[in-house]
């Protein structure tokens, strides 16, 4: 691994070190592999090639072919390998490349990994980590662009994390690997190259703990994955107009830290949830319902959801741009919430 020394050299004056999202993921994974000999990685082109998104660069050099395994294009067997190995005490990290490919191995995730501990009367754990790249914005079209967190968060037994920046890409990955449950790490493809401050040492981020990315008093914006950055950009724009929004990054969507959201809404009296996934049946529906249950008396307006329209992700960039929520739609939503009250 070269990342640590490289980064030190890049920050000789002691300022915080910056790493890209994908390098932060890679560093967290490498450190988790050093920490626990039972962690191994399997997936298509993860070892020799380092992953099509460079998620696994250099790991074969350090950990060798025993722990870095290239597999055939056999996702059901790949996840199943992870489930079986996890049931026997290893801590597999299996990579699904594009999240859309989950379609061909959903049984192993949903009926096997998620339910095994429960059905076995607690006799074992399945400490499996599934990594995958999600999200639209690259002109990759309907079968390579989805955000399917709602499918997975709906399944008891699974955990789902959505890193929103380099810091969370590393910390959530480490926690996913250390966790004794099956955890899906949904990296975002558009964020892969984006840089952020990342501590050099290994660290975890508690699963199920939201983070308040910006404090504000007027509207609570709960944003998932890449939408956190969009919400922060909207916050800058709104601040110029005298509107202060609070931005909450749940980081983990299963389990979901609703307490942080409730506390915020009780102060701001308005809430907006934004995600890339289609609005219908998305996490926004769950979050809105829970806020209404817990903080109805505090709300000055119905909780607003912003997500994608109910269609597959379109290819043409003009359509894709109109499809994926962005800072302008978030700012617009906040203004609408404020007008209502």
């Amino acid at each position: 691994m070269t990342t640590i020394t490289e980064a030190r050299a890049a920050a000789p004056d002691g300022t915080a070190r910056k790493l890209s999202y994908v390098k932060a993921f890679n560093e967290g994974l490498a450190q988790a592999m050093r920490e626990d000999e039972n962690v191994f990685v399997a997936g298509e082109d993860v070892a020799g090639y380092g992953g099509v998104f460079r998620m696994f660069d250099n790991l074969l050099d350090e950990f060798g072919p025993r722990r870095m395994i290239d597999t055939p294009i056999s996702e059901a067997a790949l996840v199943g390998l992870g489930v079986g190995a996890a049931a026997r005490g290893l801590r597999p990290v299996v990579d699904l490349m594009f999240m859309d490919f989950i379609g061909v191995c959903l049984d192993q995730i949903v009926n096997q990994a998620a339910k095994m501990k429960y059905m076995f009367g607690g006799a074992l754990s399945v400490p499996l980590t599934i990594t995958t790249a999600s999200g639209a914005g690259l002109g990759a079209a309907a079968q390579h662009s989805q955000s399917l967190e709602a499918w997975l968060a709906h399944v008891p037994g699974l955990k789902v994390v959505m890193p929103s920046d380099a810091y969370t890409a590393k910390g959530l990955t480490v926690s996913a690997i250390r966790d004794d449950n099956p955890v899906v790490v949904m990296l975002n493809k558009v964020l892969l190259g984006s840089a952020g401050e990342v501590p050099e040492e290994i660290y975890g981020i508690p699963l199920g703990q939201a983070h308040t990315a910006r404090q504000g008093s007027d509207v609570t914006v709960i944003a998932l994955g890449r939408m956190v950055g969009e919400a922060l950009a909207a916050a800058d724009e709104l601040a110029v107009q005298g509107v202060e929004i609070e931005v909450i990054d749940p980081r983990t969507v299963q389990p979901l830290d609703t307490e942080t959201m409730f506390a915020s809404v009780r102060r701001t009296n308005r809430a907006l949830v934004v995600h890339e996934a289609v609005t219908f049946g998305g996490l926004g529906a769950e979050i809105a319902a829970q806020i209404q249950d817990a903080a109805f008396d505090h709300l000055d307006a119905p909780v607003l959801r912003i997500g994608a329209p109910f269609s597959p992700v379109p290819f043409s960039p003009v359509l894709e741009k109109a499809y994926v929520p962005d800072r302008a739609r978030i700012a617009e939503g906040c203004r609408r919430l404020l007008e209502r009250s």
Binding site: I73, A142, F315
Partner: protein, 336 residues
Amino acid sequence: MAQRTSKKSADPAANQETAQVVKDLHERMVRIRLFETEAGKLMEAGRLPGFLHLYVGQEAVAAGVMAALRDDDQITSTHRGHGHAVAKGVGLREMYAELYGRVTGACLGRGGSMHINDLTRGMLGANGIVGAGVPIAVGAAFAARYKGEDSVAVTFFGDGATNIGAFHEGANMAAILGLPVVFVCENNGYAEFTPQSGHMLLTDVADRAAAYGMPGVIVDGMDALAVHRAAADAVARARAGAGPMMIEAKTYRFYDHQGVKGLRHPYRSDEEVAEWKARDPIDLLEARAVADGTATRAELDEVWQRTRDEVAEAIAYAEASPLPDPADLLLNVYSG
């Protein structure tokens, strides 16, 4: 064990017919080659959004198979689907317009490279999910038989795709239902950056056919005529109701897995690439045509020139085409 095919006819009437087939194959291959090399250039110039899995090098397979099909025969394709579409007769204008994301494109700008289709030509779609086209071809063959038609379905897939469940389930399903499906494996030696030896222990993918009780044949995928003969046999057999069959065409992609040039990790050697390029399927067919008098060099050049003009015109059409209207985001999500 799968059988290796090699046939040559000494009969003059057959040779006359062969001359026509050779010209047909040549035309289809040149169309694919020019479509793809131009698409690669446009991508490198930053003019096309999204991913492109180009077909350059594998032209003999699409051309050889498609020349054995009728318009009403159905095909399912892969992420590397431009060659199949061009050879099946999908319009170059609609294809380029799709790559540009224009509303005049084959998917109205909604699908891009990996979803090009044309039902008027029996092209049931490229596919972004490896192996997914295989069972769909089985369903298309089922529909043909159900409706009392004698069309067949051909499914194209790579060496890597034969490791996924959909392939195995689809092959067994076609076999047990006795459906008119031809399974065409384009073995280009790699699944993305993993060589065949790194993803299966078999040398010949065609051996997998035996597991489903169907014949499997191996053919030189750089020899368009050989591919065509094998395909014509398999199609005739399927059409006659004798059930599915598998053809493995040994071929090579001259470009990278995605795009034109590999940017990192030399997963294959320059020598290997050069060896395969020395057996360029178009060069091979042209050399043979000129040598046996099937065509003159001038006739072949005329095909290139005519196709070049057509490609340029199609690109101009795509570039001049309107973009889709964002007000139509919900178009075609449902029928009715």
